[in-house]
């Protein structure tokens, strides 16, 4: 399969409940399982806040029972459009985005995987937690391959729930969790990523990956371009009437510090002080950036050696403020990308509603 698909992403709090008092995360993933969504993954963030500016963080043990969650679902356009209303109906607050993505499964021998080969591209590879290739964990093998082929960077994120090839794969306490979903997110030039695709197809038994276009704003302290201003090249709403927001993804390392604290912590704090609508940080478990070989935590260590990924979504006007803050904090390290995403704020009634005041 190689077709234009949609990626539905929901950002919400772990303790959020649905109208019938179940956890929203469970209800959402039950739905994705029932509908046999090609791939979906539930990620638990380490820190974040929404439009209500309430900080959720794992910094204190007592207060880390309500962390930010991100649920991603990718499938064909019609199947994801069918999910949109139920998803925003299940969530009482948070943010739901709908992005175009190209979903590739099975044979990776694709003719024209990317529209313009010069474009920067985001590649996401969906894997199982215990999936192995040649006795090596699949995420390690994928990161190695991407690193050898000169891709700018990759981050492996571990999910707690999801579906793979339409089948529910939920992590449990007493289980090997072999199929629990993981994702490796990589950013690089379209031509390089196109070249690596057949190799990924050969490496993985059941490859499942998506391609998206991104714009690289900043790399290793070098400013390449600012996020486009409001109205620049794009109308305020997408063809279906969803308001268009901008999404920044900031790839940093747990080891990169700003003023003595990890850069991602500083980013979330400063964005919250500035009243930005929301941000979520995921801690990766493996990855690389630039020339460094892929790395993760070691058995004996003091500080952690894993990548961190911070996602910020706001209106095109306010994302300029967010970018100024991020620009300041990523003076030496990190990769910042920008995308335009149709975004709505769910209100739990089954109907979509826009606006920063509509909770989150």
């Amino acid at each position: 399969m190689n077709e234009d698909s949609l990626k539905l992403t929901s950002y919400f709090g772990e303790r959020q409940r649905t109208a019938d008092n179940g956890f929203a995360a469970d209800a959402l993933l039950d739905l994705y399982g029932q509908r046999g969504i090609a791939t979906s993954i539930l990620l638990r963030g380490v820190e974040g806040f929404g439009a209500r500016q309430r900080l959720r963080t794992d910094r204190s043990l007592t207060l880390s029972d309500d962390l930010p969650l991100t649920a991603v679902a990718v499938d064909t356009r019609s199947r994801i459009e069918g999910l949109l209303e139920s998803t925003s109906g299940l969530l009482r607050s948070g943010l739901v985005t709908l992005e175009r993505a190209r979903l590739l499964t099975g044979d990776m021998d694709v003719d024209a995987p990317i529209e313009t080969p010069d474009d920067e591209t985001k590649l996401t590879v969906y894997l199982g937690r215990q999936e192995r290739v040649y006795r090596v964990p699949a995420f390690v093998a994928v990161c190695d391959l991407l690193h050898r082929r000169g891709i700018a960077g990759a981050t492996a994120l571990l999910g707690v729930d999801g579906t793979a090839h339409g089948k529910r794969q939920r992590a449990a306490f007493f289980s090997r969790n072999a199929g629990t979903p993981m994702m490796v997110i990589a950013v690089g030039s379209g031509t390089r990523i196109a070249r690596v695709l057949p190799e990924l197809g050969g490496l993985l038994r059941q490859p499942l990956l998506t391609l998206e276009r991104v714009r690289i704003c900043k790399r290793d302290g070098e400013l390449l371009c600012r996020p486009p201003a409001a109205g620049e090249s794009l109308p305020p709403v997408d063809p279906t009437g969803m308001p268009l927001a901008r999404k920044l993804m900031v790839y940093t390392s747990e080891a990169a510090l700003h003023d003595g604290q990890p850069v991602h912590r500083a980013i979330v704090r400063r964005l919250r002080e500035a009243g930005i609508s929301g941000a979520t940080t995921q801690r990766g478990m493996w990855g690389f950036h630039g020339d460094h070989p892929p790395h993760g935590d070691r058995l004996l260590q003091l500080g952690r050696h894993v990548p961190a990924l911070t996602i910020v979504i706001d209106s095109p006007e306010r994302i300029q403020t967010a970018f100024d803050i991020i620009d300041d904090l990523t003076a030496e390290h990190g990769l910042v990308t920008c995308e335009t995403v149709p975004a709505i704020r769910p209100v739990g009634s089954g109907q979509a509603m826009e606006g920063r005041s509509a909770a989150g």
Partner: protein
Amino acid sequence: MNVLVWTAVVVIGGAGSLLRFYADGLISSVTGRDFPLGTMVINVSGAIVLGLLSGLALSSSQYLLLGTAAVGSYTTFSTWMLETQRLTEERQHRKAVLNIVVSLALGIAAAALGRLIGMHL
């Protein structure tokens, strides 16, 4: 030692850990989360109370209920250790050392102070 005392240990122990949960949540949300002050305040205040109890002449059942069940469940060694480890994970080495040294110094002083008060009551 009877069923009543054991039941009371269960109930008081549960109440102590709930008190810690809410006290830590309140302190952390007021003072911010850069430093695990909530756990430190809980452990130091628990040390005062335990010191005070040991200074009083209590029966073994009373001491079991107040000392082991109430203060034992209210204070937490494991959270103190985990939060210190988490500080080092994020390379906050100064804060990690501070968390251990200040907790120890204040804790021992608090226990001694409590005991002093208890013996004069």
